[in-house]
Every structure is written in structure tokens, then in C-alpha cells.
């Protein structure tokens, strides 16, 4: 019986000194002293995803600037939604690493589910899912990405580690809205 009594005394003391109340309040007060967790996107900050992120496709070049893509069409064969179209052609002027290059390489982003099978299938690591994720637009014209567009290096280089928040500027021009991140000014994620 004595044990039960002691427990009751313990509970009683807890109630008298408002332990639960202090516990709760400390979390609330903690938020007061910690900085804001809201990302000031798009005009001040932008989230730079990790390397493993799968965003917009990018077509890579080798160190000599030659296209890595040999238009083998394995990406389009591997694609579960059949959103990639590749038409090869012959070009031995040194445009690509082989004399077989892509005449057409396009991806329909509306159908793409960013599964990354295309990069797995690629024998030359030409196609990678990059870290551009701002794909929304006000008409459907931007949903079809062509080779020329994808060959332009993306704003986040593949070597960049990612998983940080970068300082950004928001630019609204007639060409569209752009959020430009400054990769030299980064900070750890606030959460």
C-alpha cells in the first residue's frame, strides 16, 4: 500500500509546481527565441536540393564540349510513360562523342513522372535528372523540352553538394519569372 501512497505524493508535487505547464511553455518560448523557419522564397531565399533530387532532365557534355548523348534511345525505351522521343542522325563533325548523335531529343514533362529510369538506362551518363524544379508555366508550350534547351547547363552544377538554402533574387521579365540563386551565399537549412 505504501508504494501507491508515495506515487500519489509524487503526482501531487508535480501538480503544485505546474511541471506540465512549464514543459509546454518552454516549447512555445523556444520558438520565440529561435529564428524563422519560413523560407523567404522566391525573393530572398531558395532551396537547393540534394544531389539525389530528380528534377528537370539535363543533357551533359564531356570535358571537350562534345555531347555525351549517342542517341541510342535506351532512355525512351526504359521510360514507363513514353515521354521521351529520340531520333538519331549521323554527324561525324565532332558534335558528339560518337558519330551517332541525336537529331531530336525531347521530353514531355506533363507525362514524365521523374522516376529516373532514363538516367539509369543511359550508357554514357548523358541524361541526368537535374536540380531545376521550377517547371510551372502559364501555357503548355514549356512542357515539351527540346534537346537545345536541355543541353544548356542548369543553374546548379552536378558537383554542387546541395541540401542548402541559397540567397536568391526574383526577376520578373516579359520572358517569364525567374528565381536566381547565388550558390556562393548559402546557409544550412533552418530545420
Amino acid at each position: 500500500m505504501s508504494g501507491k501512497e508515495r506515487l500519489n505524493i509524487f503526482e501531487l508535487i508535480k501538480k503544485v509546481v505546474f511541471t506540465d505547464f512549464v514543459k509546454g511553455l518552454s516549447i512555445t518560448l523556444g520558438y520565440n527565441v529561435r529564428g524563422s523557419m519560413t523560407l523567404k522564397y522566391p525573393d530572398q531565399e531558395k532551396w537547393i536540393p540534394y544531389k539525389r533530387f530528380r528534377g528537370l532532365h539535363t543533357l551533359n557534355r564531356d570535358e571537350n564540349g562534345r555531347e555525351l548523348c549517342v542517341a541510342c534511345e535506351l532512355c525512351s525505351k526504359a521510360c514507363p510513360t513514353q515521354c521521351i522521343t529520340v531520333i538519331p542522325m549521323e554527324d561525324d563533325t565532332g558534335r558528339g562523342i560518337s558519330d551517332r548523335v541525336a537529331k531530336v531529343w525531347k521530353v514531355d514533362l506533363v507525362r514524365c513522372l521523374f522516376c529516373g529510369y532514363c538516367e539509369d538506362a543511359c550508357p554514357t551518363r548523358a541524361v541526368r535528372l537535374g536540380r531545376d524544379y521550377e517547371l510551372a508555366c502559364s501555357d503548355s508550350s514549356c512542357n515539351l523540352k527540346q534537346r537545345e534547351e536541355l543541353l544548356v547547363p542548369q543553374s546548379v552544377p552536378e558537383s554542387f553538394e546541395g541540401g542548402v538554402v541559397a540567397a536568391s533574387t526574383f526577376e520578373a521579365s516579359p520572358a517569364g519569372l525567374r528565381v536566381k540563386a547565388d550558390l556562393t551565399k548559402t546557409k544550412k537549412r533552418p530545420w
Binding site: V70, C72, E73, K77, I87, P88, S98, D99, R100
Partner: protein, 838 residues
Amino acid sequence: MSTVKINGKEVTVKDGTLILDAARDAGFEIPTFCYQADLMGVGSCRMCLVEIEGQKKLQPSCITPVLHGMSIHTETPTVMSARASMLEFLLANHALDCPVCDKGGECELQDMVYKYGPHKGRHAEPKFKFQEKDYVLSPVIIKNSNRCVQCMKCVRVCGEVVGANVLGALGRGDHQEETSFLRSFLDCDQDGNCIEVCPVGCFMRLPYRYKTRPWDLKGKDTVCPYCATGCRMVIEERDGIVIRAKAQLGVGLNSETLCARGRFGFDFINSPERLTKPLVKRFGTLEPASWEEALGVIKDNFIAAGKNIGGIASARLTDEELYLFQKLFRSMLGSPNIDSSARWAPEAVEGFIKATGMDEGGASAFDCMESDTVLITGTHLSDENPVTDYIVRRISAGRAMNLVIASPRAMKLDSSASQIVRHNAAAEGHLLDAVTLSVYGGNVDKLRDVPGINRIKDARQDDLAGKAGCSADDIKAIARKLTGEGSVGLFAGTEFLRYPGSIPGLALLKNALKALGKKVTIIPVLDRANQRGAWEMGVHPGFGPGYSPVKERGMGCADMLEAASSGELQALYVVQSDIVAMHPDENFVRGALSGLKFLVVQDCFMSETARLANVVLPASSFAEKDGILTNQEGRAQIIRKLLPPPVKAKRDIDIIRAVGETFDRSFGPKNPVLVLDEIRKEVGMYGEVSLAFNNKRNVDNKLDLKEALVKPAGLAEGLNASGLETKLEPKTDEHPFLLATGNHLFHSGRLSRKSPTLIGLLKNAIVEISAEDASALGLMNGDKVRIKGRYYEAYATLHTRSGSKGGVAFIAENYDDVPVNRFFRRGEGVPRVSITKA
């Protein structure tokens, strides 16, 4: 018979059967690279190694025949590891550039490694490379030797089947490279059979290079639209453009082989010159119009012409279209004037049908080649029907038989012949008469009652031989072979139609041999895909469908043109036939057509004839329709639609029906399947023809589908084969060469001239004479020469051929720059020309 055990299963096979064939028959799979049923075994790839009990080493099953009592194992761990090791060695130096290779996705090496191979290689050394870059071997072949597996199939198919012998092997061991002599540019038949047999991406099509992946292609089974051999092939398209034609192992009578026309000549389908909308002539120029308007104009003018109307349909249309065409004329327009050839007289056609026994049903070329003596006459088989030439070469090499070739021009097949006879041009009849006379000399009693024997009975052998231009000994030798033991096969070509005076000679020889109790198989050798079908569908002024007699005999092409120039014929309906380019004497045709009140031309292209038309209707090519084609043997084969006709063009069957429907709404049947049903009902020959075929790769090469042969008609009594004679211009010193014509190896009619690849193989006209004549004239191969006839002269490149008979100049009918029909003048016979240095 030998009884052997394969994997414990007891099978009994013929003596001398290869272990490989026995195992495959028993249902066991053995992988191979170098084995092919038609080719000589070499046992070079070592993929087919099997274990035989009592023998220490594994044996190659593709060259080892079975022995009675053998016990063979094909799936033991030793065999499996041997296969994997073989593949590992092949991959040691294989380029492994599959992502770039055109064969990637349908490569036998890929499949084999996937199935049997080691999935890891142990060879870390740098790979041996023959060359850094692919090299172009011919206008249609590109080569990458780094991928070679040394199976030698290309070399063997080139020598044994095609007979070109331009490929060989350089080097030894794994440095052995199958290529042309010192990798020089190939001057061969350009048929690409080396590409088709190559199991890897070593030989590749140049026009197909880097266009697509095999899994993107959508294909349909079809039949080659050029000559009448009737080769089965598959045409494949991507995004509405046909980019490849291929033949499949063991499918159709051609198996994997095709000629340059078939394999590379399909691209006229994609031509930007295709007609896409109807054109109607207004104030002297052809202007685009709607179908309703064009059909309205046709109806008004056909009604105005009444019965004075004629029709010429191309022998490349399907049987259904041709049947409906003759039905349109005979039952709807009430006119008997229809023809399917702009080149040949109707009487010659009737005589030829009778002489070759086409009305007695189809005959298989394989059966013909089973004969003990085969005579090839009236055709330049190697150029006109290359795949028939391959069949003859392959079979004649494999068995003991006599092969006699009689032709004025030397040909590739001569090397397979046991006797070659060079006779004068247009003298096939004299040659055959001389042979028959020689046969008659020894068998007077048996041959006394043969119809027509009286014509030659009293002739002198020397006269006939002299007219034929060959020695009496040659003729006796042929006669001896034909009358020897066994059966006789004859290949009779289009020269008989070109020079109709030869037809009675052919008929007489056939009858004489039959009277001697011999089995005679005749294969007519024709040069248009559905020429035989056109005749059997009754597109001929002298007989109806199935060679049935007609009530009223109509006019053939030449008579129609004659009637047109005299104003008697008012309207002409021409379907896909270019009569201006094909009928002898172009000026006469142009004059006649301008005398017409109304000319309708239905064609894929703006042909010379279409330019003169009042209404031009856009028609479709073979890739755009369903139907059946009947080849020269009488084999009915299906073609399937791959693409829709371009823009507003329509299928020919729909156009012909639409023209009929302007007169009677019920004209039909309404679709090709129903037309075929009607053909089966109306034309007894086609009643039970089987259209089924095996389109699976078939390693046994069972090619001869006899159920597809048409049945005997038994109606040919009404054929009018009278008045057959060959007219030649008299020989003068001014014009020493007799002008021969036909098709070039790379072309067939004018249709193939719309194919960019085939034009790339042969752009400008050539004239061919024998090397002896050329050296007598001081001319060299490749010289630019002037060809002068009495009415026309032209310039062309000289091609000399050694071994041809002198006094013959050959210009193919295909060239638009030297239209050979301009040398002809109506009523004056086969022209003679002179050749001088330009």
C-alpha cells in the same frame, strides 16, 4: 536411316543428317552463328559444340553428321560452359558499342550472350581494332569490322547464293576480316544479302544508318513490287516514313535474299514527288480539284464516249484491283478494250500463256529446279529476276543436274551452267526450232503427230542453226541433254513476248518433249510484280478472268492507240501505267493520246502519260494497300497495308470503285476482302488457293508453299495465238547493232527511277555491248558513246561485257535520259543502231 539418342531421346533420321538438324527436329535448341541451311557448312563459330559419348572433345554439330547409335548431349554443363567461353572469347575483341550500333536490339550476339553468356568478361587487355571508323563499302553498304564474329556467312552468301564473289577474308584467326579485296569500294550487285545474313552489326545498310532503333519500327508483310519473282519481305516505317525493307530467314521462296531493287528500292513511297490530290485540266493546265469534281468530269466524258473507251492497267496492281478494273469495263462501261501491258501484243501474250502452260495452273520454281535438265532461255535471268537466279544457282550447285543457259548476253549465272549457248538476239525461236529438229531426228515415230512439227520437219538443221547464230554441235548437245534420262524444266522469259516469232518454237519444243513422255515444268519469267495476276484476272482484250473466253474481242494497247489517232476511240483510262515511256515508238503514242477526247491517268507520280491527261487521280503504292499479287510461278501472296495513302490520294481499288459508282451506286464489291471472295467464286483458279503463309523465322528453310499455287483453269481453248512473228529492221552496215531491251539489274520499269537509293546506284543510262565488239570499234568500258538509230540518237555510257554475242546493243527500258522506245518506229520492227565515240 540412323537411330541416335539426343539427350536421352531416341530419334531416327536419314543417314548423313547433321547433328544440329536432328537435334532441332527433336526439339532441342542449339545456338549457332555460322550455320545456315542454304550455305556450305564451315563450323567456324563453335557455338554449336555438343558432347558425343565416347569422344573426348566436343564436336561442332553443324558439320558433323549423325552415325547410327550415337548418343549426343546438347545441354550438359561442359557444353554450356563451352558456349559461355566461346562468347567470352568473341567479346574479348568485340567493340561492344551497342548503343551506337544499328544492329543493337536485334543482334544475335546480344541475344546469345544474354542467354548463354558469361555476364562478366575476364579480358582486361585493350581490344584489338581493325579500324577506328566505319568505312563505306558501296553506295548502300557500310562496314564496321570491329564487331565481326568471323562466321563467314557474308562471304558464303556472296559466293554461293548471289554468285558475285566479291567478299573474302583477309587475315587469320581473330584478326580475320571479311571484306572486299583490300577493302576497296564494291562494284557488285549491291543486293545487301551480306547485310541480311550478318548476325551482328558488321555489315550495315547505309540508307538506314542511324535512323532508328529496331523496336521503334512498325512493319507489315508484303511482296516486292518490282519483278515477278514474288519475294516476300517486310517493310518497316517510323513516323510515317518507310525506312527499311528486309527479308526473313525461311519466309517466302526467297528466304533471306533480296536483290538491290527489293532491299533498297522501297523509298519511292516517301518521295516528295508523289501525287497527293486530283488534278483536272483547265485551259491547258492541270490544276488541283476535289475528288467530286474530278469524278464528275470523268463521268460526263465517259458517258459522252459511250463504248468508244479503253482501259490500260498496270501489272503492278493487286489482283483485286485488276479484277474490279476489268469488271468496270466489261460490265459497267460495256467496252471490251482493256489491256495490262503497254509493251506486248495481245496475241503474243496469248501465245506465251499457251506455250508456257500458265492456264494449266501454277508451277513451283523449286519443282522446276528438281528436273534433271533445266533450260533457261529468253531471259537475262541474273539482271531481270535476280532472286530466281539465286534459287537456280543455289539448287544447281547442290545436286547433279544439267543447266543449259541460252542467251545472247553473258550473265552471272553462266558460271553455274553446264552448257552455255550464245545465240543471236531475237533468235530464240530459231534456236528452239533447231533443238526440236534435232530431237525429232532421233524420234521420228514418236513425234510425227506433234502439232506444229510440220513447220520444221523439212527444214535443214544448218539453216536453223545459222539463223540462231550457234553451232550445230551446241544444238545437238542441248538436244541430247533434253532427251536424256529424267525430267525437263524450262525457264522462259520475256524475250518471247518481245519477239513473238519465237513463241511457236517454245510451244513446239514443249509438245515434242511431252510426246516423248517427259515431265516438263515451265516457269514463265516475267518482269512486273503482278503480270501473271493481271492476265488471270482477265485484264486482256482476248480473254476474261481465269482465261475464260470473251464474247467480243477487244483492242489491245497498240490497237487502242491506233484507234485513238484515227479518232475512233474517244476516252482512255490508264491506271499506273506509263504508256508514253513504255510503248515502242513514243511519238506515235503522244500523237495518239493527243487525238483522244479524254484521258484519265491514275498514278502515284506525274508520269509522262499523266502530263497529257485531262484528269489525273492520285493513286497509292504497294505499301498503302491490302491485296494479293500472283507471281510468275502462279503463287498468290498477300500484301498488307502499312501506311495510309498520302494526303488526298486513295487506294486504287477505291478509285476504280468510285468511278464505277458514278454510273451505278451498287458497283462493287465494296472492299478488297469482298472482291477476293468474288474472285474465289468467279475464277476457278483462285477458288482454293491458300493465302496463309508462315511469317516466322524458320530455320529449316521450308520455302515452297505449294498450296499457294493457282489451280488449272482448263478454259484456254479460246486463246488466239495466231499471227506471231518477229519483225526486225534489215541489217545495214550503217547500223550494225540490233537493239535489245529489258530491265537493268538496279531498275524495274520507270517506278524504280523514283527511288533515290536506286538512282544512287545507277544514275545515267548505259548501253551494253560485247567486249569484242567494243574493241573492234576501239571503244572502252566507261566511254561516252553516241547511239544512233534511224529515228533517234542519244548519248550514254558504254558498258562492255565479255562473252556476249556480238551485234547486240542493250539499253534498258528504265532511263528517262535515254528513252529506248524512241528508237522504235511503229510497224518497222526491232531497230538497229550504230555506236560511235561521242
